[in-house]
Amino acid sequence: MSNAQNAAEKVDERIKERSRFREAMIRPELGGIVGTIIVFTMFALFAFDSGMFSSKGVLNWSQVSAQFMIIAVGACLLMIAGEFDLSVGSMIGFAGMLIAIFSVTLGWPVWMAIVVTFVICTALGAVNGYIVIRTGLPSFIVTLAFLFILRGFTIYFPQTIERKTIIGGVKDVAEGDWLAAVFGGKILTGLFSWFGEIGLIETFARGSREGQPVVDGIPMLVVWAIALIIFGHILLTKTKFGNWIFASGGDAEAARNSGVPVNRVKILMFMFTAFCATVFAACQVMEFGSAGADRGLLKEFEAIIAVVIGGALLTGGYGSVIGAALGALIFGVVQQGLFFAGVESSLFRVFLGLILLAAVILNTYIRRMITGER
């Protein structure tokens, strides 16, 4: 009998203890952090003198990564809440088209066009969410339907209204509009021109902008990305609502029984995803001055890939915004870096696939360590 009694006291004798250091290391973002380090090391070794790490080069991949980050934040929170959205790419095209049609074709003030577009698109996100909640269908199917519906309208509207698939001229009408500047402008221009003066940044060698710094400010796109990441991270880890997001994705039924308003959480997350897509679209339209029917193609996959590389669980309940942002950074840096390194561009997809597989296997391993899942 003595055996049994002794055993009963030491409750955890059958499980090894983990060291403090290992505890601190093992977090959802770990995969993303490791990936980022690897990627930067690789490019520093193989493409250092290609201009990738010049001020212009850095701005270049930061902008591309910022784009991915904006949609990844939305997709990340939605995925943690247990759903996902295949209509992100179509939503980007649709939102951009709406802004252009409202402002150029209908001649509305640009701020109004943007505001109305935000309202329409987040409402569409809510519709997505509402259908998922009410019918209990997988969000894969519902948002796949919206992928087609929205893309169809994005082609149909400009075609019937303007007989083209690109609507341009937004830049002209946006001149001086306060809200347009929030999406298309740049900040810290003063600082950068000072950098240019003191020679910290190269300047243009000729042309109308001779003497100005090649990088003349931080684009609002990057500002939006950082703002959304901070917002998402705080929302997820530091607030009550963040706990609800985890709970809704972890087990909707259990969360509902514990008093979490799961339906509200999910619909809000669909709306937030649509909001992020619209931010993406607005930045793009304001920067480039036109909206095209093919904008945003395949962006839904890119968002999901960034999120998954960043360690989130496709089935919900687990993940981190920082991780997703790192995933987007890896994605952007690899995409642009391969160009800098001069790799045959069709191989980019092959790399992407391999990185995705490797990242996800690493993340699974890390997650199992964290959660004790088997």
């Binding site: 409750v11 505890e23 705080i234 880890t237 530091k238 607030t239 009550k240 963040g242 706990n243 609800w244 985890f246 709970a247 972890g250 087990d251 039924e253 259990a254 969360a255 509902r256 029984n257 514990s258 008093g259 979490v260 308003p261 669980l313 309940g317 687990y318 964290i370 959660t371 004790g372 899942e373």
Partner: protein
């Protein structure tokens, strides 16, 4: 409370019931899960709900905890008529439930689970933040009180054993100052020691003046802690009896619908 019930109604343990459910009906499409069930719970009593598989026990307590809205019938909470729109309403009114299929999220940490739906907040620059320090501290303390030593408050619930999870769920319900604690078959998957633990907890909670609704298939467990016993059968109540007014065998008989069991007892020696 059907006319032909053998039971007497249990006398109130305190003066006024916390919650009274009157003639509750619940239909799911063509399935009639509850066909008029009345039960009341007094502070400080343990009210056992017994009955066969599919009798409607879980459905009944789900109407009590706001998961389902009853198709017909009335709910009075502390004398006031009440209608719970969703579990949040019931929880904030003071009804805590530990559901049969555990209300824990394996991927989340113990402390996040503990406070799920009841997150403590602290204001900072006018914005409410989840007060993690407070949550962690409380969780560790409460779990220690229940005799469970966590590796840390951020240990995932998925790493706990079934019995430990059950304990977390109960500790959570008790912590949030429930006036009524509902436990749906908390002991069915537990070992002897864990069961004893849960029963002791029920006893402790009851003594704090909380009304406990305890669902079980095990007559012995019910007899161990119950003050009153209500037997459900096929969506109807067969009546409520007080402790001491009813024998073990009688209760068992009622639960099983009598007849068939008698047939079997011969070969099995009445030890079921």
């Amino acid at each position: 409370m059907t006319e032909d019930s053998k039971f007497h109604h249990g006398d109130p343990v305190a003066n006024k019931p916390i919650i009274e459910m009157k003639n509750i009906e619940k239909h799911f499409g063509s399935v009639i899960a509850l066909a008029g069930v009345s039960v009341d719970v007094y502070p400080g009593e343990c009210h056992c709900l017994l009955g066969d598989n599919g009798a409607g026990k879980s459905t009944f307590i789900k109407t009590m905890s706001g998961v389902h809205k009853p198709t017909a019938g009335e709910i009075y909470f502390e004398g006031q008529p009440m209608s719970f729109e969703d579990p949040r309403d019931a929880i904030s009114a003071g009804i805590a439930t530990v559901h049969q299929h555990l209300a824990m999220i394996p991927l989340m940490s113990v402390s996040r689970n503990f406070f799920m739906g009841n997150e403590p907040v602290k204001k900072f620059a006018g914005i409410s933040f989840f007060d993690h320090d407070h949550a962690n501290q409380v969780t560790m303390e409460e779990m220690r009180k229940m005799g469970i030593n966590l590796r840390g408050p951020d240990q995932a619930v998925g790493t706990l054993s079934g019995g430990e999870r059950q304990t977390v769920a109960i500790a959570r319900a008790v912590h949030f100052g429930a006036k009524v604690l509902i436990l749906d078959e908390p002991t069915s998957a537990l070992g002897v020691r864990q069961t004893a633990n849960v029963l002791a907890t029920i006893d402790k909670v009851r003594k704090q003046g909380i009304g406990v609704v305890f669902i079980t298939h095990n007559v012995r467990h019910a007899m161990a802690v119950g003050d009153r016993f209500t037997v459900l059968n096929r969506g109807k109540t067969l009546g409520t009896a007080k402790r001491g007014e009813i024998e073990h065998e009688e209760l068992q008989d009622l639960m099983a619908g009598g007849q068939e069991l008698v047939q079997l007892e011969g070969s099995l020696g009445g030890t079921v």
